[in-house]
Symmetry: C2
Subunit: 220 residues, 2 copies
DNA sequence: CCGTCAATATTTGTTGAACAATAATATTTG
DNA sequence: CAAATATTATTGTTCAACAAATATTGACGG
């Protein structure tokens, strides 16, 4: 029995940086100085650069030649693109799924968790549960490549939430929609569930785009 | 007007290595020695390692800790997974498309090219045209993220072709199916085109898996 | 003639320093 | 105050080093 997969340092670095990014520790557009991060994270510049390369391909960082890496600033276009990805992947995964799939239980668990968090007014937790819910939908497809790609895109989407200041608006209305989707799937009505999901995605995209457009006006 | 986007060296390195990989210059399972490639490509080890990291996340190389990087050996499972990705992305892109999209013209161009190449018996060219055809299908969705992800998966799929020795079997039967799909889309029958595409993908997957199973028996 | 184990040689993982090229900043000048 | 120039800082890349892990060699005993 192995003690651990023995992740390489650049990988671990990328993981911690990714966590920081989706936790909002950096603000979009911020430049990440190599020297500063090297000393703070106790790694060499070469190692840090490898981690940067990873996160750049994931879309979380942007690399400008001779200028350094910057936290990606989400745009209207990136949000539209990401929702196209979501519709493509999630719709198919759900409509072609069967209710006894292990991931279906995770969907239900996420819904329950989200309801409890909503009652407490813990919007951050509601958001996390929502993420888990949709990751579970993708997992219904039983494709590691799709799941990994989706995780990437979801992380990128999360960046756009930090441009907004009203987490309730972004998460609260969707708990019930998720509950309905999970319920339909449990009843074996996968196609209806997929249709409900598409409605969810459309509404969620519209809300996010509208909020983004408002915040863009108030920005620089 | 800028002369060029000024790609960074690790990026360029990754590109050339990727080209080599999908051209079959290395055999699956082969180890890529850092020192050997450093001197051959005239780059430092650090730079090469960054390129390795890139190609590893793309699935073309496998990184074994303390052992080095190896050309990915395709498996039955990876092929199944990749075809799930293809069905998910291509089906939706095609069924939701409209015939006047610029990418539709590229589909037709690829079909014409493939027909000419088939007549000449140039199966390599047939294969390239087939790749372009399906990349064009994905492009119908107008999503850079989906297109980039698909390109990655397509490159990985290409690796599995090198385990086989009969390119005609893998490409020849599909020229006509592609022509039919393109024709249906031109007639505005996107849904029928998508149905035909799904049939294509099913048959293509079956053929590839069968050939792979045969070659696995004759292997080590 | 094997197979086992220890000693040796490679190779990888990571660091640190170096240097040219580029961008940002400060300074001088008109 | 604006423009041009000099200075500084930062990035892109290479090189050399070393510990840790792996592969290889060779001695030894069965």
């Amino acid at each position: 029995m192995q003690p651990a997969p023995a992740l390489l340092l650049p990988q671990k670095l990328a993981n911690t940086l990714r966590d920081s990014l989706i936790a909002g520790d950096f603000t979009p557009g911020q430049r990440l100085s190599e020297q500063a991060l090297c000393t703070r994270l106790r790694v060499s510049r070469n190692t840090l650069r490898e981690a940067f390369r990873l996160l750049t391909t994931e879309g979380l960082l942007e690399h400008k030649v001779n200028r350094g890496v910057f936290v990606t600033t989400p745009t209207i276009f990136s949000v539209i693109d990401i929702y196209r990805v979501r519709r493509t992947i999630e719709y198919r995964a759900l409509s072609h799924s069967y209710p006894k799939h292990p991931a279906a239980a995770r969907m239900q668990e996420a819904v329950d968790h989200a309801k409890a968090a909503r009652q407490r007014g813990d919007w951050h937790d509601v958001g996390s549960a929502n993420m888990r819910f949709h990751a579970a939908i993708v997992a219904l497809a039983d494709s590691t490549r799709l799941s990994e790609f989706y995780a990437q895109v979801a992380a990128e989407l999360r960046l756009s939430f930090f441009l907004l200041d009203d987490p309730e608006l972004l998460h609260a209305p969707y708990v019930d929609m998720n509950a309905e989707i999970a319920g339909l799937l449990t009843q074996g009505r996968a196609q209806d569930a997929a249709t409900a999901l598409e409605a969810y995605l459309n509404q969620s995209e519209r809300t996010l785009l509208a909020a983004l457009a408002r915040s863009a006006g108030s920005g620089p």
